[in-house]
């Protein structure tokens, strides 16, 4: 039996109308992911978009795929369950900087270290958007927020280095306003088997407009390589482009020093995902007759 596969078009991917602020980078990400789905003809029915809570967390409502808008910081546990039992599905995860690195840190840690197969996009606007302007783990030192009226006192967490420290198998950074680079990066992430950690610089004009200077590009450094993603010199004409082989871990660690000003694939390696290993273990177990389930307990 063959199921007829429908051609996926941009308009098929629309669901509810988004409710983000004007100019929010989440719009661009939504469109970017849709573009990838059209480009690679990913079937909406086979795609699950999982998210936590935050402005970013609303994305599943706006994307006409399967979707699970979960609770704050807990997108990875749900994704893990889905990935373990349904290898046929594409799992996209949307999570904010607070959702990822504050309340959700432990799950992200384990998602990365277990190498659960999914594309994880960390929407990094360096602020809590939905709860209105509180300091997040990636907020830059000195920024005045509702919870840091005297300016944030902490050095932000470096999400790339965090992922590298956990033995991540795919670590990349991109910016939503760099349309081409974003789609290329998400595509590479999607093609990777395992946990693809993608840090995405995301604009929040409402609460943190100065986080990303999207009108200039002289601060951007692209990591460029034939096995990576090409630097987007059209989107960012003044950016520097450096060669970096994604298989070079120490190089990746060294480049990560300049995060968040570096975009590209820092590191990629092949490694079986936890979900694959788990399924293999089940498959390799000789099966027993369910009608004799209790026979082993006979006196």
């Amino acid at each position: 039996m063959t199921t007829e596969v429908k051609q996926v078009k941009m308009k098929d991917l629309k669901a509810l109308d988004p409710r983000w602020c004007t100019g929010c980078g989440d719009y661009t990400m939504l469109v970017g992911v849709r573009k990838l789905m059209v480009k690679d003809q990913m079937q909406p029915k086979d795609t699950v978009y999982v998210s936590g809570i935050g402005c970013s967390g609303r994305i599943p409502h706006y994307m006409n795929t399967y979707g699970f808008h979960t609770i704050h910081g807990r997108s990875v546990p749900i994704s893990t369950g889905v990935a373990l039992v349904r290898p046929d599905l594409n799992v996209f995860v949307a999570s904010g900087d607070g959702d990822s690195l504050s309340i959700g840190g432990n799950h992200l840690l384990h998602g990365i270290s277990k190498n659960i197969h999914c594309v994880y996009m960390m929407h990094d606007n360096q602020i809590y958007g939905l709860t209105k302007n509180q300091t997040s783990p990636t907020t830059r030192k000195g920024l005045v927020t509702a919870t840091s009226p005297g300016g944030s006192i902490m050095d932000p967490i470096n999400p790339i280095r965090f992922a590298l420290g956990l033995g991540a198998t795919f670590v990349a950074s991109t910016a939503e306003w760099l349309g081409q680079h974003f789609v290329d990066t998400i595509e590479a992430a999607k093609n990777h088997k395992g946990f693809s950690f993608v840090h995405v610089a995301q604009r929040c004009p409402k609460f943190n407009p100065a986080a990303w200077d999207f009108q200039n590009s002289d601060w951007i450094n692209f990591l460029d390589h034939e096995n990576g993603v090409a630097g987007d010199t059209k989107g960012a004409p003044d950016a520097k482009v450096v060669k970096h082989d994604p298989s070079d871990l120490e190089g990746a660690f060294s480049h990560s020093e300049n995060v968040p000003n570096v975009f590209g694939i820092f590191y990629q390696k092949e490694k079986a995902s936890y979900d694959d290993l788990m399924r293999q273990a089940v498959e390799n177990t000789p099966k027993k007759d369910p009608s004799k389930l209790l026979d082993g307990f006979a006196l």
């Binding site: 029915k45 795929t65 699970f68 808008h69 546990p77 749900i78 349904r86 177990t285």
Partner: protein, 600 residues
């Protein structure tokens, strides 16, 4: 000279790590295989192997044997064997002995604790116990030294086998079976020790006991504990995904499944914590694969937020909570029934869910089927409430009929009836009407913890929020209407009704039998589904002069137990305090009997 006894309870108490559990297991097998019913409670320290010769290292097995079926651990032990005086002293504190009972005390350590031995023996005698002291023979002592201190348990096993008139060779055969991985040399050493113990017992012990065999055929019987039964039930119920995080006393469900599940196509996921475990379970069910998570008190507290999400997003989900002593870390290896409200009302917001309790090992096997049936019909969370004593105690029972459930609608009415519930209606209204699983074309379902309308759109209007509450609560009403009367033990009218749930059932039943034997009439009402409550309770209660609850929970004057609070609110009947003891130890039929006498 053998005393014939239809029922007896004894215990073997050693330092942790010295093999009391193992010896106990062999004994149980011997009893069961030879046609006696057994019920066993392991005594486990909350630490792993605390230093020997301390009160904390108390480890062992309490074993009840009978010619007839057993439903609980009973009240007190008639015979107790102790490795040394400190354990005897510690165990006396629990007052779990039969006055006039026998204490067998190994005197090996007397040299280093002369006064302590004397004092403890004195104390035991003063509370009415007969103390028989003994010493191992020199050969056994020497072999044990060769075995690096191991093997003492075989000596005690030998003694017990002799005292209970087990044929020496029969038990030796079982030892051979259990230790089949040991080298021939080591095995023989163990057998020698065993034989020496057997011999010695007959010399030191003035009395032996003979527990008559049952007339029932035991050929198809099995020996099962509560948690293993739950694990097997999960497989039989067609659940194929387990996510959990280790916690006593729930962990052994996970251990059993880790071994058994893959052979039936199931998967066990050890999550990083309880939050992640319940999340993965919900993720699996969302993706279409029936799933379960199990935990105990502290883990339940952590899962609350996700349980609320499952409720709001209408994802079926099954959460097993094996209750232990609380609050907080509390008493991880002791029993209590104090998580009822946390299970039913612990999630923030108005988040109605169903709670099913188990009264025995058989219930443990079938509760996953019923939980799956209800949660998939309702698309609301179902909590299964077991407790420490049910989870660890072993029992001989007839081999349970399997269901091999695939489609939930194939569940049998019998199994539902065991939990006092009828089949649910074919269609039950949902907050969200599209409920397809991923992979189905053109039905792309998006779910959320926010409030939505029927199409799944996020809305905050007054009417839509009230609608969601109405529908979620109506699901519980559907269950409530399907509930039949809880099981009535004894006459449906009378002076005194004891209300119980969970593991108290067996104890209460036995207490009622004891009361009947003394001519006292009393009935009991046992709940399986503890939330929602069925509709006919007032009717039932009105037929009794007095209604009280019997639970391993805390209650006192002015402070009804949690279950009692529900019953009182529901029926406005002045439900009293029967027994509400939270000592960590299971209830005793004799304590219940005493309370019955107070009350009638």
């Amino acid at each position: 000279m053998a005393t014939q006894k239809e029922i007896m309870r004894f215990e073997l108490i050693m330092d942790a790590g010295n093999g009391a559990q193992k010896a106990g297991d062999i004994l149980i097998k011997a009893f069961a295989k030879s046609g006696r019913f057994v019920f066993i409670e392991p005594l486990i320290p909350a630490e792993i192997s605390p230093p020997k010769r301390t009160p904390h290292s108390m480890s062992g097995a309490v074993i009840r044997v009978s010619t007839n079926e057993l439903s609980n651990m009973g009240s007190t032990s008639d015979l107790m064997l102790f490795e040394h005086e400190i354990l005897l002293e510690r165990r006396l504190k629990d007052s779990d002995y039969t006055i006039g009972g026998l204490v067998l005390l190994d005197m090996a350590d007397e040299r280093r604790a002369k006064d302590a031995y004397a004092a403890v023996i004195e104390e035991a005698k003063s509370v009415g116990l007969k103390v028989i002291s003994f010493n191992m023979d020199d050969e056994s002592v020497a072999i044990i030294k060769e075995l690096n201190g191991n093997g003492k348990n075989m000596y005690y096993l030998g003694m017990m086998a002799a005292i209970y008139e087990m044929p020496e060779e029969y038990v030796a055969g079982l030892i051979r079976q259990v230790f089949k991985k040991l080298s021939e040399e080591k095995l023989n050493k163990n057998l020698t020790i065993y034989a020496n113990g057997y011999k010695n017992a007959l010399e030191v012990c003035p009395e032996t006991f003979d527990i008559p065999k049952t007339e029932k055929s035991m050929t198809d019987s099995i020996l099962l504990d509560g948690n293993t039964s739950l694990a097997m039930g999960i497989i039989d119920a067609g659940i194929r995904f387990y996510a959990g995080y280790p916690i006593t006393p729930a962990s052994s469900i996970m251990h059993s499944l880790s071994k058994a599940f893959p052979a039936y196509g199931g998967m066990v996921h050890q999550a990083e914590d309880e939050i992640s475990a319940v999340g993965a379970m919900i993720g699996s069910y969302y993706a279409g694969v029936p799933a379960v998570t199990a935990t105990s008190g502290p883990g339940l507290s952590l899962k609350q937020e996700f349980i609320g999400l499952a409720n709001s997003a209408e994802i079926p989900s099954i959460i097993i909570n094996v209750q232990r002593g609380g609050p907080s870390t509390g008493l991880p290896t002791r029993t209590e029934q104090t998580d009822l409200f946390a299970s039913v009302f612990g999630t923030h917001g108005e988040s109605p869910k169903v709670a099913i309790s188990v009264s025995n090992v058989e219930d443990c096997f079938y509760v996953p089927h019923v939980a799956r049936y209800i949660t998939e019909k309702l698309r609301a969370p179902v909590i299964i409430l077991s407790d420490y004593i049910t989870s660890v105690s072993y029992k001989v029972l007839e081999k349970l009929p399997l269901l091999e459930l695939d489609d939930i609608n194939d569940i049998s009415d019998d199994i539902l009836a065991r939990f006092n519930i009828k089949r649910l209606p074919d269609t039950i209204e949902m907050v969200k009407d599209n409920q397809a699983n991923p992979g189905v074309p053109d039905k792309m379902r998006r779910v959320t913890g926010l409030n939505t309308d029927a199409s799944g759109n996020v809305v905050y209007s007054s009417e839509s929020n009230q609608r969601s509450h109405d529908i979620r609560n109506e699901k519980l009403e559907v269950v409530r209407r399907a509930l039949t009367s809880p099981e009535i033990i004894g006459a449906p009218t009378g002076d005194l009704l004891l209300v119980c749930w969970g593991s108290s059932r067996g104890v209460v039943e036995e207490a009622i039998n004891l009361a009947n034997q003394e001519g006292i009439k009393v009935s009991a009402l046992n709940f399986k589904i503890v939330y929602p409550l069925p509709t006919m309770l007032s009717e039932i209660f009105k037929k009794f002069k007095k209604v009280v609850t019997i639970e391993v929970a805390f209650g006192k004057e002015n402070k009804p137990t949690e279950f009692s609070t529900l019953l009182r609110s529901e029926t406005l009947v002045d439900i009293g305090l029967g027994l509400a003891q939270a000592t960590g130890r299971p209830l005793k039929p004799k304590s219940v009997l005493a309370r019955i006498k107070d009350l009638v």
